[in-house]
Each structure stands twice: as structure tokens, then as C-alpha cells.
């Protein structure tokens, strides 16, 4: 069993603290993605799990054993690096077998495991080449092969797809997921790309400035972001966030953006706000659609009249960029028709799917 436990993990570089006491439990065979903007401490956290960085404070255990003072080789892990770190002076076969050779495994075992990995990753034809003779995607596969031959308890991936072009990245995403289903191990995967996080993870860990902001399944994180940071980081396009104030209008709480524009507070949030509170109103582009749209809105809807600045037709949908209360917001339209800049349109906002955040703390009021 290879569950990973991080308890109050702290990392300092000299006087600079970059990871501030992280607590995280990763279950056996779980695929966890650490995601966040650069400098959020995600890679450092991964490298502490790998044993490549000293742990300044706290405790990391793998499979129930505290591994703080263990060298990387004692932790039964393997890792895929951002730039693959294939050994340039060895052939693909030697690269794959290196770890086993170091572990003094008999020759036939090495060969069997190397071949097995080659089949899984479909790189049998490349075995006698050197890394210099491989394309980016092939190097990626070899790096993964090198990770799986040793049958480790835990796989660590450090932004493994960031050096690939967009198309290959999509393809490798599915391959890594498929690999996880085949080899069944605990995977910790670091990326700055929220799409990778959403598509691959069993659970997403959103990090910022050395703290964990939110942990949850992709849908949880997407649908119930705990604060404005997660709301704007996860999902594309980012959630529309408009500052406003809670006021009483027509006997109901509204979020007022200025003197004449306001939106009613959804019923589910009514008892969590008070009049006069400064809030940030959030909703996704998918939940703001032109009135009379083919896709029906579930639940209560509120009307808004907006002027379209720019329309970006994407094929199945068109992204509309509008100005509202001094903030740029985006809406989606699913029936293909040309929209001219400057066109005034009526929109409907799906109120049940909107969010309210406290303006001061940025925390979601859904609690």
C-alpha cells in the first residue's frame, strides 16, 4: 500500500519560506494533480516527496513509513522530469534498464521488465537509439518507461508535458491516464496547466504562494471553488468576477454593481449574506447566454442587457466579450450566427450556478 501523507510540511531556502506547512493525504492508487501558477511551491512539494529537496519542517510518509531522512533511492518512487533527463550516453534500452541494473537485478529480469515496459509504451522500435535520435514525444515515452520498469510504489511527474506541442500534449494526456489504469500506482502529478489537472486527476490540489487553496475532485473544484483564486484559475475561460454590494431591492436581496444594475441573490445564498456586505459576484461564461437561446436554463434566471465588444467564433460556440459594471466579462452562445461589435443583446444568467465571494477575504460564501 502506497498512500502518501504530508504533515505540516515546510520548506525554507535560507530565510525564505516557500512552502508553509502543507497537509495532504494521498490514497493508494490515487491520481493526484498539484496545480497552481509558477512559484506556488508545487514542484518543491513534489521534490520533497521525491527526496530531492530537504524537508525543513514537518513529516512526509510513504506507505506508512516516515521518509524525511531517506535518500531518493530508498523511497521506492520513480519520477518523470520536465526535460525528461534521459541519459544521453545510453541507448533507450540502457536508459530503461539503468535503475534495475543499479539494483543488481539479474539480466533476464531486467530484459523481461524492459521489454514489458516497451510494449506498454509502444517504443519497441526505438530500443537501440540514443535519446538524441528521438522526437519530443518519443523521449517523453522513454522517460515514462524508465519510471515504470522498476514497479515503484509511487510515480511522480514534474510538468512532463510542458515541452511538447499542443497536439502531442493532448495525446500524451490520455496515454498517461491509460498508463495509470494499466499499472495501478499512486501518481502525484505537477502542472501549471489547469486543463491537464481537470482531465487527468482523481483529485486536484490547487496551490498558491506555498499554501493549499483547495483539494477536491475536478468537478468539485470547478463547481464549488472555495475562493476567487480557485474560481479564476480553474476552468477556461476563467470565471467572471464582478465586485458589488448586497442591497435590498423590491423586498429581495440583490447584488448591486452600480446605481441601476443589480442581480438578485440566488435563493440558496440568501441566508448567507447580509445587507451592505461587499461581495464579488461570480459566474462562468457558460451560465450567461443570450436570451431566447436554444439551451434552456435550469432554475431561476436573471436578465442582463449587455453591449458586445468582441465576438470570437470557435465553431460550436461563440465567445462574447462584454463590458459590465466596468469589468470585462465573457458569455457563451451556442447557436452560430455572426455578432457585430457594438451590438446590444439581452442575456440570461443562470442564478443557481452563480457564486458569491466575500470581497475582503475572497472566500466563497457557500461555505
Amino acid at each position: 500500500m502506497a498512500e502518501i501523507l504530508l504533515k505540516d510540511v515546510v520548506k525554507n531556502y535560507g530565510k525564505l519560506e516557500v512552502v508553509h506547512g502543507i497537509n495532504l493525504f494521498i490514497e493508494h492508487n490515487e491520481f493526484v494533480v498539484l496545480v497552481g501558477p509558477s512559484g506556488c511551491g508545487k514542484s518543491t512539494t513534489l521534490r520533497m516527496i521525491a527526496g530531492l529537496e530537504d524537508i525543513t519542517g514537518g513529516e512526509i510518509s510513504i506507505g506508512g513509513t516516515v521518509v524525511n531522512d531517506f535518500a531518493p533511492r530508498k523511497r521506492d518512487i520513480s519520477m518523470v522530469f520536465q526535460n525528461y533527463a534521459l541519459y544521453p550516453h545510453m541507448s533507450v534500452r540502457e536508459n530503461l534498464g539503468f535503475g534495475l541494473k543499479i539494483a543488481k537485478q539479474p539480466k533476464d529480469v531486467i530484459e523481461e521488465r524492459v521489454n514489458e515496459a516497451a510494449v506498454i509504451l509502444n517504443i519497441e522500435d526505438l530500443m537501440d537509439r540514443t535519446p538524441a535520435e528521438l522526437s519530443g514525444g518519443q523521449r517523453q515515452r522513454v522517460a515514462m518507461g524508465r519510471a515504470i520498469v522498476r514497479h515503484p510504489q509511487v510515480f511522480l511527474f514534474d510538468e512532463p508535458l510542458s515541452n511538447l506541442d499542443a497536439k502531442l500534449r493532448v495525446q500524451m494526456r490520455t496515454e498517461i491516464k491509460r498508463l495509470h489504469q494499466k499499472v495501478k500506482t499512486t501518481i502525484v502529478y505537477v502542472t501549471h496547466d489547469q486543463v491537464e489537472a481537470m482531465t487527468m486527476a482523481d483529485r486536484i490540489v490547487v496551490m498558491k504562494d506555498g499554501h493549499i487553496e483547495q483539494v477536491g475532485s475536478p468537478l468539485e473544484v470547478f463547481e464549488r471553488p472555495v475562493d476567487t483564486f480557485v474560481a479564476s484559475f480553474i476552468g477556461s475561460p476563467p470565471m467572471n468576477l464582478i465586485p458589488g454590494e448586497v442591497v435590498m431591492r423590491d423586498g429581495r436581496l440583490h447584488v448591486a454593481f452600480n446605481a441601476d444594475q443589480s442581480v438578485p441573490v440566488p435563493a440558496s445564498l440568501a441566508d448567507k449574506t447580509t445587507e451592505g456586505q461587499k461581495v464579488i459576484f461570480g459566474f462562468r461564461a457558460d451560465d450567461l447566454m443570450p436570451d431566447g437561446h436554444a439551451v434552456p436554463i435550469m432554475g431561476e434566471a436573471s436578465g442582463l442587457r449587455l453591449t458586445v465588444d468582441i465576438a470570437e467564433p470557435l465553431g460550436t460556440e461563440t465567445l462574447l466579450f462584454c463590458q459590465f459594471a466596468g469589468v470585462d466579462i465573457q458569455a457563451k452562445m451556442y447557436n452560430p450566427r455572426m455578432v457585430k461589435p457594438g451590438e446590444v443583446m439581452d442575456f440570461k444568467c443562470a442564478l443557481d450556478k452563480t457564486h458569491l465571494f466575500d470581497a475582503a477575504s475572497g472566500k466563497s460564501l457557500r461555505g
Partner: protein
């Protein structure tokens, strides 16, 4: 030292590995360089002479320094050394730059040229000295023989003896030996030069001189400073050349600080006084190196993320 709210569970131990890895290097250097230098610092305050061992304990304070600082011959040698270094380093830079630009333009046989260019760097300075002593010899030297055969002059120019020519020949030999350090590093710089800024400058309307002045040269400067630093590490190897070619003579016309140290220390066996001079020469070398090293660091920062 640092106050962290979460008390580290494990004492963050200091990594001694780099200290361990560096210790052999520093031990050797302390033994071979630092200790002898401290010893010589002491002797520079004594009247130590090789032939009288007990003179090692004759403390005479600053008298050695007083003597050399009031000696016009010392100052002449000091001034000559500064002129020698300034001229040599500047000429090496200019010629090196010229050669690098020249070879950069040539496509056919470039590698061979580059290799040939490196040879002088690998010559023993003593050989360079000998080679030019031979070529500049007034009687049988290649140069005078050639001039004579071509009917220019009487072919008896005293290259190594004549007052300005003597300095000229040793600077020539020095420049011949060390220009390649500059040429090679500047050429490496030209190879590493990204094309985009050059093209951008051309599009922006620069002529080729302006491109060179404002784009190429600033990019090359760090490479020039590496060359300067490497050179200044061992400027004193010119001693070998001068020792063979002229021995500092005739009549001290080519006397540099370093040949003077050798004469006073070994030939006149006034160790104390020679050590005092040696300290002046050491400080001079350190000043040169430090100057170029800081320039190098600054230039590197200026290049910033250019990688």
C-alpha cells in the same frame, strides 16, 4: 537565526559536502601559495640575504619598502610594466577582435584556421621568447636577413638592443603569444550571437557599423572580459619571454618588475628586498584580475537572461 513559527521537527543540518569537496584544493593552495606568501611578507621586513641565513631575523621594519620606493630604477621598471601590460592587453583585444571577425566571415577552412590560431596559446612562453630572439637577432635573424636580401637597409637593425625597438620586440612576442586567447573567445562569442537582434537592428535602419557598435560589440564584451580575466591570471608569464629574449637588458631597457625581482632576489641574493618588490607585483596582478573579474560579473548581469 530565522524565526519560524513551526519549529522544525528535525534540526536542519548543514550540508558539509561542498566544504569537503573543496578542502583538498584549498589545502594545497594554502600550503603552496598562502604559507610561503606569509613567510615572504615577513622576510620583506627583514634584511634577509640568501648567503647569510641568520639575517632572516634582522628585523628592519619598512626599510626594504622605503628603499624600493625611493629607487628610480624600481619605478622605471614599474612604469614599464604598466605600459607593457596596457599596450599588450589592448593590442591583443583589438587584434583578437579583428581576427575573430575575419575568421567568422570565412566559411571554407574555418576550423583549420581556428586550430592554427590556437597554437600560440599552447606554446611555452620560453619558446616564444626563444623563437623571437632568433627571428629578431641582428646578425642571423630571419627578419634582418630578409630585409638584407630585399635590399632594404643594411640588414643590421639591432632589434633587441635598441631602446624603443627592444620594448617593441618583447611586446610583439607577448601579443603574438596571447592574441589567440582573445580571438578564440571572441569568435566563440560571435558563434553564440543570436541572429534576431542583428536582423531587428538592420530593419530598424542601422548601417553595418551601427549594428556592430550597438549590437555585436556589447554582446561580445562578456567574452572579452573572460579573455581578459584568463589573461590577467597569468600576466606574469611575460617574464619568461623577457628573460630569454633580453634578460631585462641591455642597460635595463627592457627591465620589467618581474625580471627585476629575479635579479635582486637570486643574482644579488637580497631576498628581503626582492620579496618587497614581489609584493608590489602581486598586488598589481591582483588589481588587474579583480578589475576584470568585476567587469565580467557586471557584463554578465547586463546580459541578463540572454543565456
Amino acid at each position: 537565526m530565522s524565526i519560524v513559527s513551526v519549529q522544525p521537527r528535525r534540526k536542519s543540518r548543514r550540508d558539509w559536502t561542498p566544504a569537503l569537496l573543496l578542502s583538498p584544493a584549498f589545502l594545497v593552495l594554502i600550503f603552496v601559495v598562502l604559507v610561503p606568501l606569509l613567510f615572504s611578507l615577513y622576510t620583506s621586513f627583514t634584511n634577509y640575504r640568501l648567503i647569510r641565513p641568520d639575517s632572516l631575523y634582522e628585523w628592519i621594519g619598512l626599510r626594504n619598502y622605503q628603499r624600493i620606493f625611493t629607487d628610480s630604477k624600481f619605478w622605471a621598471a614599474f612604469g614599464r610594466t604598466i605600459i607593457f601590460l596596457t599596450l599588450a592587453l589592448n593590442l591583443e583585444f583589438i587584434f583578437g577582435l579583428g581576427i575573430a571577425l575575419l575568421i567568422n566571415k570565412i566559411t571554407w577552412g574555418q576550423r583549420t584556421l581556428r586550430t592554427i590560431m590556437m597554437f600560440p596559446m599552447m606554446f611555452s612562453p620560453i619558446l616564444v621568447g626563444y623563437q623571437f630572439k632568433f627571428i629578431f637577432n641582428d646578425n642571423i635573424g630571419l627578419l634582418n636577413n630578409a630585409l638584407q636580401s630585399l635590399g632594404i637597409g643594411d640588414g643590421a637593425i639591432a632589434w633587441l638592443v635598441d631602446k624603443p625597438l627592444g620594448m617593441f620586440t618583447i611586446i610583439f612576442a607577448e601579443v603574438w603569444m596571447s592574441t589567440s586567447v582573445f580571438a578564440i573567445l571572441l569568435l566563440a562569442g560571435l558563434f553564440a550571437m543570436p541572429r534576431d537582434p542583428l536582423e531587428a537592428a538592420k530593419v530598424d535602419g542601422c548601417n553595418s557599423w551601427q549594428v556592430f557598435r550597438h549590437i555585436t560589440l556589447p554582446f561580445l564584451m562578456p567574452f572579452a572580459f573572460i579573455a581578459m580575466t584568463i589573461r590577467s591570471l597569468d600576466v606574469a608569464r611575460a617574464y619568461d619571454i623577457v628573460d630569454v629574449m633580453t634578460g631585462g637588458g641591455p642597460a635595463n631597457r627592457t627591465e620589467l618588475l618581474w625580471t627585476m625581482i629575479a635579479r635582486v632576489g637570486y643574482d644579488n641574493s637580497r631576498m628581503g628586498q626582492a620579496n618587497a618588490m614581489a609584493y608590489v607585483s602581486i598586488l598589481l596582478s591582483i588589481a588587474f584580475t579583480y578589475y576584470f573579474f568585476t567587469k565580467l560579473i557586471a557584463a554578465r548581469k547586463y546580459m541578463g537572461g540572454a543565456e
